[in-house]
Structure formats: structure tokens, C-alpha cells
């Protein structure tokens, strides 16, 4: 470990938060196959309640009536899993080998990775909100909520910890 690095510092806390983000996503490698191991989960996108409000019918009924919808959910969920897992591995490595050593490129790389997520989550959620569907934290998937909670403080703490460099 780098001599100047301390976990109980802004940079150390930031590294811990980014590591948690990466590990949660890398866990998708086993989490996603487990999720589909016994058929489909009770939701299409977020939760059975919210999805029924958005699509006008319960997820099970939609999948039963429209095989293409079931196939799209299954196939695209795995493609999302590929992106999540690959990104998770890279986030862990960048946080550990780059940010922990105070590398500025690592900070900007992690920030840049968070930008498309900051755009796409509101886009997906807006589809529900437009129809008056309220979404609570319990309606969202952990791979969405956990980064949404961890990344903003991680960025702020890294900014403080790297003061003078970024």
C-alpha cells in the first residue's frame, strides 16, 4: 500500500466507496444468472408494481402474451449484465491501482464513467414519472440505487482528497 494513503482520509473514503460500486457491479457476474435461474424475476424493468403501472398489465401477463417482450427482457438484461460486469471489474482496478495512488486520471476516468449513468437513470425513471407512477428506492434495482447513493459522495471526497491536483 502507498505510504501516504490512509483509509480514514477523504481520498481513502472515496476509494472505499468506488470499490463498493465496482464490487456491486462485478457481483452481477453471478447475480444475473441466479436471478434468471428459476425463470423470470417478477418485474420487467424496476418493480412489478411500477412496471404494471407503466405497461398497463402485470409483467407476467405481458410476458405470457408477448414472447418477444420476454425475449427482449431476457436478452437485453444479459447485455446490460455484460456492461455492468466489465465496468465493475474496471472500476475496482482503477479505484485500487489508480485512485488509491492519487492518480488524477483515475479520478476523471471514474467521473467519466458515472456521467452516462447520470443521464440514463433519469431517462428511464422519467418514463414512469410522466405517467404519474411514483418510484421509491425499493422499486429500483440495486445496480441502479447503490451507485446512485455511493458515487456522488465518492466524487466529492476524491475531489477533496486530490485537492491541488484536479
Amino acid at each position: 500500500m502507498d505510504a501516504a494513503f490512509r483509509w480514514l482520509s477523504p481520498l481513502g473514503a472515496s476509494v472505499a466507496l468506488f470499490l463498493a460500486w465496482g464490487l456491486v457491479w462485478a457481483a452481477g457476474l453471478v447475480g444475473l444468472p441466479l436471478l434468471f435461474a428459476r425463470g423470470f424475476p417478477p418485474w420487467l424493468l424496476f418493480s412489478a408494481r411500477a412496471d404494471a403501472a407503466l405497461f398497463g398489465a402485470p409483467p407476467d401477463a405481458i410476458r405470457a402474451a408477448q414472447p418477444a417482450a420476454a425475449e427482449a427482457q431476457w436478452f437485453l438484461s444479459y447485455l446490460i449484465g455484460i456492461g455492468v460486469t466489465s465496468a465493475g471489474v474496471a472500476i475496482v482496478c482503477i479505484a485500487w491501482f489508480g485512485l488509491r495512488r492519487g492518480e488524477v486520471w483515475a479520478f476523471w476516468s471514474l467521473v467519466a464513467a458515472a456521467v452516462p449513468l447520470a443521464a440514463l437513470y433519469p431517462y428511464a425513471i422519467s418514463r414512469y414519472v410522466r405517467l404519474g407512477v411514483t418510484l421509491g428506492l425499493g422499486d429500483l434495482q440495486p445496480f441502479v440505487t447503490i451507485p446512485a447513493l455511493l458515487v456522488p459522495p465518492a466524487i466529492v471526497l476524491a475531489w477533496i482528497g486530490l485537492a491541488g491536483k484536479v
Binding site: 462485478a26 418477444a68 427482449a72 449484465g81 486520471w105
Partner: protein, 164 residues
């Protein structure tokens, strides 16, 4: 640039291949919003027009036109997937540029692990198509599916040679 780094060396070739790997994700993920706005993503449902028609019957455009729920579901899933592709592409490219280019072994390990870890997923996602005998050729697959998989082996091998 690092003093002892050369593009023509095995390490340089590996960096180029991993940069292309990341760029494919970045470009395709980043271009999707425009393609969606122009309606260019409606020729296929999931993989390609030919393959999807073989599995689902009517043409993908017809299915999407008559099925609003599927259209909505697919649009949101594609948006999430493409955002994640941009994120993954950014991370892969930066690890290749700032880590592997500087000769850091952890960077090669990270890039290979990030690629290898998801290979079983590809086998899982194409299984339903192969089970029903749907024809899937390279021409049916979007580049983000097969280009990174094709680059991973050579990139890992020359990277390993370059770091020895």
C-alpha cells in the same frame, strides 16, 4: 507518452487493440440515442432483422409498430444498455491508455478479466437462438458483440508478450 513505449511493439499493439475494444463500446453506445431518434434502430428487434424474424415471425418493424408495450420496454432497456456500454468503454480505454501503456501488469490483468468474465454471458444469450435453429452469422451481430470478443485473445497475448 512513456519514454520506452512504442506503438509497433507487442505492448503497443496490445494497447491499440484494447483501445479499439473500448472505442467500439463508446461509439455504439454513444450513437444509440441518435440512431433511436432517427428510427434507425427499428430494423431489428434484438439481434438482426433476419434472425429476429426467424424467431418471432413478423418483421421486427411490424412487431414494434403493433406492440407499444414491447417497444417501450425495448427502448428503456436499450437506453440502459447503451449508457452502460459508454461507461464500460470509457473505463476500458482509460485502463489501456493510462495503465497498460505505462507497462502496468495490473492493467493487462484488469482488461483481460473484464473481457473474460463476461464470455459465459454470450453463450447464455445466444442459446435460445441456436436451440430454435435461428441462423446467426457474424453479419447478423452488431459489432459491439463480436469485435471485442475477437480482439480480446490477440490483445491479451501480445500484451502478455510485451510485459514479459
Amino acid at each position: 507518452m512513456e519514454a520506452d513505449f512504442r506503438w509497433g511493439s507487442p505492448l503497443g499493439v496490445s494497447v491499440v487493440l484494447f483501445l479499439v475494444y473500448g472505442a467500439i463500446y463508446l461509439l455504439i453506445g454513444g450513437a444509440w440515442p441518435l440512431a433511436h431518434r432517427l428510427g434507425a434502430d427499428r430494423a431489428y428487434l434484438i439481434i438482426s432483422e433476419r434472425t429476429d424474424a426467424a424467431v418471432f415471425g413478423p418483421s421486427p418493424a411490424e412487431i414494434l409498430r403493433t406492440n407499444h408495450q414491447l417497444d417501450q420496454l425495448r427502448t428503456i432497456l436499450f437506453a440502459m444498455m447503451c449508457g452502460l456500454m459508454v461507461a464500460a468503454g470509457t473505463l476500458i480505454a482509460t485502463v489501456a491508455w493510462f495503465g497498460l501503456r505505462r507497462g502496468q501488469p495490473w492493467a493487462l490483468a484488469a482488461l483481460v478479466l473484464a473481457g473474460v468474465a463476461v464470455l459465459p454471458y454470450w453463450w447464455i444469450v445466444f442459446r435460445p437462438y441456436t436451440q430454435v435453429g435461428a441462423p446467426i452469422g457474424l453479419g447478423d451481430l452488431p459489432p459491439f458483440m463480436w469485435v471485442p470478443a475477437a480482439l480480446l485473445g490477440p490483445a491479451a497475448l501480445v500484451g502478455w508478450v510485451g510485459l514479459r
